[in-house]
């Protein structure tokens, strides 16, 4: 599904190498987690994959089902089936949440040469999905993320994911700023989307989210590289001993 090979990335503005050769392959139907200390390059990886400005790929490749992601505009990546749940969802005053979701869904459908969804069908779809995530009608009417609590913003990300039904979902620190209940709700939303055709890459600093979204593979990232991979037990090791021991061991 998502295939990353030898990916090296530096900041555009300054001569600073962030990713120093990342290799990663997320198969359809699998959940991979990336853990790592702050500054290890986890979020940069998610931004580069989704096409944010400010980064320069100096080597390596990233493909989604064989298609070269790095050659695509952000909206083309989305239409190809890539989804990034933002660590900090952006507030957009003046754009209603519903308008936003409908524009996004129809833009993607159009790009894939599928028929656009009518207003009525869209409403039906959104209501059903919102209900599962305990998102009320009021929240759908408000401008995108404006005045939303941390938990509401993250639930809104998962709602977008549920509506857009991407093939490959990247969750960037989705647990940050969430209390236990909110985290459970978000995790349930994600788990509901797990199926054989969809891949997940869960980026997180802490192990606790992985209690709820149980990964198939856990990678430890440090200094721009994946330094260790293993099963869910690797996450627990981090929880018990911190990154220091693990990284010391690798070094």
């Amino acid at each position: 599904m998502l295939d990353i090979k030898g990916l090296e990335v530096k900041l555009e503005e300054e001569d600073k190498q962030i990713l120093k050769g990342v290799d990663l392959n997320v198969e359809a139907g699998k959940v991979h987690a990336i853990m790592g200390p702050n500054g290890s390059g986890k979020s940069t990886l998610s931004y580069v994959l989704s096409g944010r400005d400010g980064y320069e790929v100096t080597a390596g490749s990233a493909t989604l089902e064989g298609a070269d992601l790095l050659e695509m505009e952000p909206e083309e990546r989305a239409a190809a089936g890539l989804f990034l749940a933002f660590q900090y969802p952006v507030e957009i005053p003046g754009v209603g949440n519903m308008t936003f979701l409908r524009s996004a869904l129809n833009a993607q459908r159009k790009a894939r040469e599928e028929e656009e969804l009518s207003a009525a069908d869209f409403l039906k779809l959104i209501r059903a999905k919102a209900k599962d995530l305990k998102i009320d009608a009021e929240m759908l009417k408000r401008p995108v993320n404006v005045g939303f609590s941390g938990g509401e913003k993250k639930r809104n990300e998962i709602l977008q994911m549920a509506v857009l039904e991407p093939k490959m979902c990247i969750l960037d620190e989705t647990d940050s700023g969430l209390d236990v209940d909110a985290m459970k709700l978000v995790a349930d939303g994600v788990n509901a989307l797990r199926d054989a055709g969809r891949g997940f890459l869960v980026i997180t600093h802490y192990q606790r989210l992985l209690d709820h979204i149980v990964p198939d593979v856990v990678h430890i990232m440090a200094d721009g590289r994946i330094v260790k991979s293993g099963g869910p037990e690797l996450a627990r090791e981090v929880e018990e001993n911190g990154y220091g021991d693990l990284l010391g061991e690798v070094a």
Binding site: S50, G51, R52, D53, E73, P74, E75, R77, A78, A79, L84, F86, P89, V90, E91, I92, P93, G94, V95, T99, F100, S103, A104, L105, A107, Q108, A111, P143, V144, Q160, L164
Partner: protein, 432 residues
Amino acid sequence: MARAALKDAKQDAARDRVSALSLPGGASWAAEVRQAALGRIEAMGLPHRRDEYWKFTDPATLTQPEAPAAALFDPRETPMFDAVDRLKIVFVDGVFDPDASDDLAMEGVEIERLAEATQKDIHWAKDLYGTLEARGHDPVERPLAAFNTAFATDGVVIRATGRASKPINLVYLHKSERSDAVLHHLVKIEEGGDLTLLESGPAAARFSKGLEVDIADRSAFHHVRIQGRDHERRAVTGYFARLGTESTFKSFTMTVNGVLTRNEMVVELTGDDAIAHVAGAALGDGKDFHHDDTVFVTHDAVNCESRQVFKKVLRNGATGVFQGKILVKPDAQKTDGYQISQSLLLDEDAQFLAKPELEIYADDVACSHGSTSGAIDEDALFYLRARGVSQAEAQNLLTIAFLAEALEEIEDERLADDLRARLTEWLERRIR
């Protein structure tokens, strides 16, 4: 140029300008109104780049004898407000078109043409025509408004004694490339009256419009205007409104295209507990686009609320100007005044010139104002694109979002929705 020399030059220019013109005829009171306005022009002189409120906008093409030609433009779309049940009054290049207009009859509202009202020896319009304009020159002179009062060839006079059953729509068509139209409208809302006025269209190659609105105690006036989208048209408006006790005044203007637009507005809150909201949204594209909102709101009564919300989206060298003032007189306690002017600059060639002013002489008031210029929010743009929305569509969504606060000032939701839909359509056309 010294002050006295400037004044002389302006007065000379005014005399030159009016010498070849003759005042339209009419009953003696109307002739007096026009003659007095002519006197004001000659005393004030024509506007000049050196004038404080004309330093951002060159008045030359508005004051020169010949209107510069403006190519005709076919928007190829359903005319504005077509879906609205309204009473339509049509002017073609400033000339009333009876065939295209509806019957000037509606319950609770008297409607007449200015050209007819000014022929009558006795008419209520006598007390309004030129009156608000004449007192609107202190402290800032507005000679083009006086010019309009003097030389207006027609217009409508409307008196609402009750709640109008539907809006009145003044439709201004532009069919001649060199037309020079001067229209003046008088609106009097009597106590308990409630009227909505819609205006649409370019009117002429050059359009001078005067609008005097007297809103009596406990009455309401709503106004939505879409200025014509002919790229080369020029327009200047002198808009004067006086508000009585517990009255409401809401005006919204949308401007898309046009080489030169100067919208001057003078609002006076003279009765307690009155509310005045004035708003504008402008979309400018290209170095020939110059749009100027010059707004003056005076609080002269207790516990009144005023809002000025002006938003401009500019690109490719377009220029936007905002000169806005809130003046709070010594007795206007409990004033709630708000003013915001913002521009969204879509590229580095566009410019926004703003001059927000507050002048407050009362000590128990809440007044706030702000003015900003900014580019499109890159984070929001990326967020939308990451969800699959194309760059162009994302930019349009953010543009409409930027204008939203101004559009929200339109009270009638259907009109507001209609305008939002039009805006989207116009923005999409620009992409293609």
